[in-house]
Symmetry: C2
Subunit: 276 residues, 2 copies
Amino acid sequence: MRTHAENAELALLLEVAGTPKPGNVDRARDHEDLRFEHFLAGAVGSAAGLRAAESGAPVGEAFEAAVAGMSDQRGGNTQFGCLLLLVPLVRAAAAGDLSEEGVRAVCDATTTADAAGFYRAFEHVDVAVADPPEGTNALDVRRGADAVPELEARGLTLADVMARSEGDGNAREWREGFPRTFREAERILDDDGPAPDRGARAFLRLLAEREDGFVRTTSGPEAAREARERARACLDGEEDPETLAGEFVERGINPGTTADITCAALYVALERGLAV
Amino acid sequence: MRTHAENAELALLLEVAGTPKPGNVDRARDHEDLRFEHFLAGAVGSAAGLRAAESGAPVGEAFEAAVAGMSDQRGGNTQFGCLLLLVPLVRAAAAGDLSEEGVRAVCDATTTADAAGFYRAFEHVDVAVADPPEGTNALDVRRGADAVPELEARGLTLADVMARSEGDGNAREWREGFPRTFREAERILDDDGPAPDRGARAFLRLLAEREDGFVRTTSGPEAAREARERARACLDGEEDPETLAGEFVERGINPGTTADITCAALYVALERGLAV
């Protein structure tokens, strides 16, 4: 029987192994400076932080530890967003209630110290984020630990920070009880075949369902719209996802948020009995 | 900084990710019932046993725990042989002497209880092994825990058991201070490029250097000779390893022992500074 932390680590590995996932590193494709083995090392490195989450460490502390371990490879940011979703899910599972209500309770219970851990995590790795709204630079995540006094002065919890992250698909999961994660987990369980193949199909469904925030930030709104439309065309059989995967990697269109939610959904599916 | 156990887990993942490795599951190829994700789950599952080895648990106990965790997937035996090499290496590294002398000291210090742990590990998973020599059926590893009274009656340590395993390439490493492992680790460090590619080249060199015992057991001596010769032809540029990989997977020629030593060499290379 795998532990909750082991299921989370396996979800990280199954996510990156699934192919084709248009635009992402997968079993068949690398980016130039971000390769498959960076994700393998990132998963191994994050395991101690995931175990801390399972053992009841505060969410911010466990998340920072997971990100610090993940960063011990030369590819840069591999799984920051995945871990932001996995840590509260693992906490909810360890508390015996891996459900929308259970994970909502974990998120609602976060503190200013958790928010500080989240900010400190940005010091371990470069994360592509959107510019903060006008007038909120004091809380720009890129400030890392420098923003902690401001968090404390305002008494913001990690849940508050997520509530302010408009347009970020992972923050939306945090705010709303992980609805896409749980819905997609059920679709993965209803699917057939090897787990990585199910993950790749989940990725396409999620991308077709909603524009990817990471693509919007890194490649612009036009690319985000295109990625969604072409994922839908793949689902409708009008495009070949293998061909699209090659094209998106070449053009640097990288639906990272969609991969994060795919990973979170694989984790929930593993906890609910997906066999590997 | 990865721990010794984390480096060992990463070595398991890098080994299976390296491609082409003629005849083996790799990043580009699955066997029919033994797929890439089984190795991912096997690596995750073995991590607790590897941590036990690092923490000073007896070799046999740590090995059995690693194999039990590894077996929690539906592919069957994925990394039994890798773990047989990794556990004493991790112990040697944790003791501060990852060298031929250091690992020899670990092996020499094994007890009858360690031998019993090794035998019990065979109860967790089906391992393809050669028939024991005439008159030694009482110590056939396939008897699992049933052989333990015989081990105890004869006072055999795990090192003694390995000394009796003629013709097994992993047992030979145990007996001789892991000479191929350490030599290949240096070649990996002298090589260039991504770690999985270095692993794939190490696999070919090792296969060209000595006939694979697992191929001999599962496909016969003729196939073992052919595998070695054709690996040599790949190194000489007379054969394309990609083509050979496809052919060997199709014919079921699976150089498992060579993969085990490749994994052990990747582990030593990681400990000696191979960057990922």
